[in-house]
Symmetry: C2
Subunit: 298 residues, 2 copies
């Protein structure tokens, strides 16, 4: 009989991850805030559940993939939350990107009932979720990590146990810093070079070959030049993630001057109604500053 897993949060990331688990032979019991996603997955063979608590009655391993810290707190600790029904010895794998502080709060509340927990945020975007090639950064006990590993191997390619509870979220915050600042770097370069008269495709081509090379150029360079800013990963979520990084920095007295500056740029974009664009649209903020559109007809 197929192993049964609970899955809560069927968004742009959670939906393809759940599908990959079903394709790999797992039986899924699913719950989502909006019912349409549940119905879609049920039509593909998943079992619906009316609440997180109802999932916990049917499964011993539950994955959560939710937007933000309050969502995870609600689903685990709130009314009809997982904590009401999870048995001692069962395992929560939270793959959301949330605050390390909330992660520790959740870990501790569950531990008091003998429930195990891993924080296992991912990187790689919707493309990585669909392809099953996510990077997964896991915090928690080594035995729990080994238990969850077959599941991670369905969802991702780079799977690393990075430390104790919360370490996964810390590394994810580091990841989001580097991704955001790389978009900023590429955007400043493209606006400068393009306004100075160079074909931006040449810039992408040359920079990819040297020490400036990065995955943003490789995976998003073409779509940025094509001015395709459909998410992908939304500005408002990346802004949330930089907020987590800055809060973590505040907790540990770490100054993050450029993270702070780029976070302010994201905030301005949200204020201008651009929060639902892909994070690569940071390019348009730099274009706005320079009153110049990259790749426009001369």
């Amino acid at each position: 009989m197929a192993e049964r897993i609970g899955f809560i949060g069927l968004g742009i990331m959670g939906m393809p991850m759940a599908r990959n688990l079903m394709k790999a032979g797992y039986e899924l019991v699913v719950h989502n805030r909006s019912q349409a996603a549940v119905d879609e997955l049920v039509s593909e063979g998943a079992i619906p559940a009316a609440s997180p608590s109802a999932i916990a009655l049917q499964t011993t391993v539950i994955i959560t993939m939710l937007p933000d810290s309050p969502d995870v707190r609600d689903v685990v600790l709130g009314e009809d939350g997982l904590i009401d029904s999870m048995d001692a010895g069962s395992l929560l794998i939270d793959m959301s990107t949330i605050s390390p502080v909330t992660t520790l709060e959740v870990h501790q509340a569950l531990a008091a009932k003998g429930v195990h927990a891993l924080d296992a945020p991912v990187s790689g975007g919707d493309k990585g979720a669909i392809a099953g090639t996510l990077s997964i950064m896991v915090g928690g006990d080594a035995t729990d990590f080994e238990r969850a590993k077959p599941i991670f191997e369905v969802l991702g390619k780079t799977i690393v146990h990075v430390g104790a509870a919360g370490a996964g979220q810390t590394v994810k915050a580091c990841n989001q810093i580097v991704v955001a600042l790389t978009f900023e770097a590429v955007s400043e370069a493209l606006v400068l070079g393009s306004k100075a008269g160079v074909d931006p495709e040449k810039i992408v081509q040359v920079l990819s070959g040297g020490l400036a090379g990065n995955k943003v150029l490789e995976l998003r360079g073409a779509s940025m030049l094509a001015r395709n800013f459909q998410p992908g990963f939304r500005i408002k979520l990346h802004r949330k993630d930089l907020g987590i990084a800055l809060d973590t920095g505040k907790s540990y007295d770490v100054a993050l001057p450029v993270t702070a500056l780029v976070s302010q740029m994201f905030a301005s974009m949200v204020a201008h109604g651009e929060g639902d664009l892909d994070h690569s649209a940071l390019l348009t903020h730099l274009e706005e500053l320079a009153n110049h559109q990259v790749g426009q007809s001369e």
Copy 2:
């Protein structure tokens, strides 16, 4: 008979580039401000020349690889400069990283004498120079680019004709923006994650696998964690390059907020006597701000 090339500027980049050309069968006539480098290369078979002008009497293709705009202006337009002796139809390939403004000045002065010129700055550092795997971004006429291509193919791997005179320098400025901001991104991530208690090697490992992946992590991550900040490419030169980027931005009304901020960090490091460290030492500036050393014993 071997084709003869002039080569001026035998520094950390120029020396291995000259050696690769000699290995490929070119006969080199060389000049350098400090004589020791000339003597070294002469012992390997190169022909010494007492001045740039003396090189121009013996060759029709000349490469310059010099530290900054004034050096190129001096070597080409100054006393005993190339312009005194270069014949019409001969070709100057300036592979230095200098201001696009100086590049245009040099191109125009040479063009008035019928001398052809390419700006062909490189990326890839001393490692790329030694391995012959540089990225070369070339500005100038297409026929001159084709003429120089066999030489570029000895020195580099990614060789792109990016546009008219000056375009090579513009793209190099873009490259230096992305490299500097990537060092900043990686440094903020490493200091945050490490001070929050995560093994920095795990951070490098995980970030390399996703959208945060970049060549800085791949090629310099290990040396940064080993605290090896020997150049490589010096802070003071990268600061010079960001100055070129900011000047170019000023010429074209392009705001480069993060380039400006990181340039100020480099300036502070130069003020603290750290200008001769490798640019990866930007990490130490962020460590200083957070009063925390990445990878120190707990």
